[in-house]
Symmetry: C2
Subunit: 366 residues, 2 copies
Amino acid sequence: MHVPVNELKFRLEKLHLSMKQEKVGAVYLCRPENVHYFSGFTGSDSHLLVTASEMFLLTDRRYEEEAQQSASCAEMVLWKKNIPETAAEIFRKKRVRAVGFEADMLTQLHFSQFTKALSNARTKDFRQQIATIRLCKTSWELGRIKAALRCAEKSFLELKHVIRCGMTELDIRAELEMRMLKYGAIRPAFETIVAVGKNSSLPHAHAGKVKVRQGLPILIDFGACVDGYNSDLTRVLFLGSMPKFWHEQMRRVLQAQSAGLDALKAGCAVCDADNAARKVFEQYKCVQNYSHSLGHGLGLMVHEAPGVSYKSSTVLEEGMVVTCEPGLYYPGKGGIRIEDMVVVSRRGASVLSRLDKDEKSAVLSL
Amino acid sequence: MHVPVNELKFRLEKLHLSMKQEKVGAVYLCRPENVHYFSGFTGSDSHLLVTASEMFLLTDRRYEEEAQQSASCAEMVLWKKNIPETAAEIFRKKRVRAVGFEADMLTQLHFSQFTKALSNARTKDFRQQIATIRLCKTSWELGRIKAALRCAEKSFLELKHVIRCGMTELDIRAELEMRMLKYGAIRPAFETIVAVGKNSSLPHAHAGKVKVRQGLPILIDFGACVDGYNSDLTRVLFLGSMPKFWHEQMRRVLQAQSAGLDALKAGCAVCDADNAARKVFEQYKCVQNYSHSLGHGLGLMVHEAPGVSYKSSTVLEEGMVVTCEPGLYYPGKGGIRIEDMVVVSRRGASVLSRLDKDEKSAVLSL
């Protein structure tokens, strides 16, 4: 689905305002998600130039057709020797004096080619300004994020009927990713984590050859990328029955998540939400088993601003989309994490995901 | 599978020799494939420092266990404020005067943090030297590449029994990628291209909702990543029967590929191989429908040196692994591409892939 023209116009207005405030006459973008955000372009290996009145997409022959279709608002330029030199030439012709760029994305090679060809103009790191513009999602973006959620959820619900004793983590990952592709994902949002038994205590486990069997937690952290927007969810399943120990951990995690969700309100600081979840674990004397932060922003990237950590005092705003994913991890034994996605509003966090999380929904019949 | 110690030792010796020749006392690596190549580390978000006598892996708590298991030859350092500063501190303590780095990978932000903290030492772009070291594959690496090929081939042979009239490009991609994951891939080597009918004339088509039906080319460009090493293959299938026009194009492409394969010999220039394929198409007056170059090197990256193009005079060496993938594209109608992987030897190209490519194998029963 192409980005609507009025959506692009709205984004560009915010960028122009930021350029004016920071006194840069132009911006040079190379992060694919930023190129897409401001131009709608769906291909890769292409850079975007934005001035106060014009927009140029620097691409090559492979993407000519794709650029015409998805980024018609930008003037297409086929670059010659290398992209940064072509970019600098355009800026020179337009007599640009200061250019914003993404210091965390442009390589040193491209930066040196760019500044050399730019001669007199100065450069300014513009990554924070761009991240700020992308922070709050429009209703159109929320629609895309919901589509990415529905795709992942539909696939997961089907997967629950497929999991059998003896299947490996890799088998389960393959079955889930296949369904997400069939139901409209352009790719999985990230490498699906399927971690069985003690592997589930590693927050970044890779799916491997461990087999599922009765009583072991099966932690599945997954998401779909639909039209460039991502979803990110975690559920823990059990075959046959849920052992008492895990039942207790699940209850604590759900209680911590609920406390976190209540604190994800516009006007509140993100650290308060993380601390709200942390307090629940402190009450159960297990906060040392909660080894990461409560969540992260997501949209065109799976991890983007704002981070929802006890270290950050970022104030939540209406339209921010974040995950809420407390977890408890017992090395050598396993772990429980429950992850949902919410959009922040004045009235509180509105949960976007629809998967059940009660005990009944976590236990699969043998 | 972890990289064997003698393999790592051999690679490090080549790096030390190159450092001596270029008069740099240390190398700072951040490209994940290079970090893996010299240390064996399987995680991400980590950088590698190599001096004449030591090796340091800069990582964070998430990868502590993975680093101990996969990169035991490197001393693990958990970075604090940011990776480049920690790297510069280590180099300062070791009194390094010149550091090689990857200008095409290190971001401008990291480069400026690094050089600022490095104070007096000079930096040198080392990307060509690293690429040169990785050019020729050892027999152990060839084993990994063959494993990546066998995984992709096994999945493709099964897929051929699954394709039915009415399936979409996305369905076929999902079925193929699922099988590669089940048969040992850590991920597909790249977004699998499944292009039906006129879509097959776009060399970088995205799989979509177009359905397969009798007489249309079904171009499938796919590969698996196994233990970090990649495979890359292309076949074109037809349901029921192959129309005369496509039969003729297929014959030409196979003839061009055969000419290319004959010219991929150690001691010969890559341009000669591309030109050999080109000549076949010239003879049939269709060279204008051949819009890309003959192939590319691959290994830890899907595209790496050497490029096999008529513009390059790189001389082929024993142990280089490249693709041979001529194609003919007719916009609005479709295209044919046949891609195999070879290892260059003194006696000529040795084809690593095992999939049939005769007409019989390209036609699926309805």
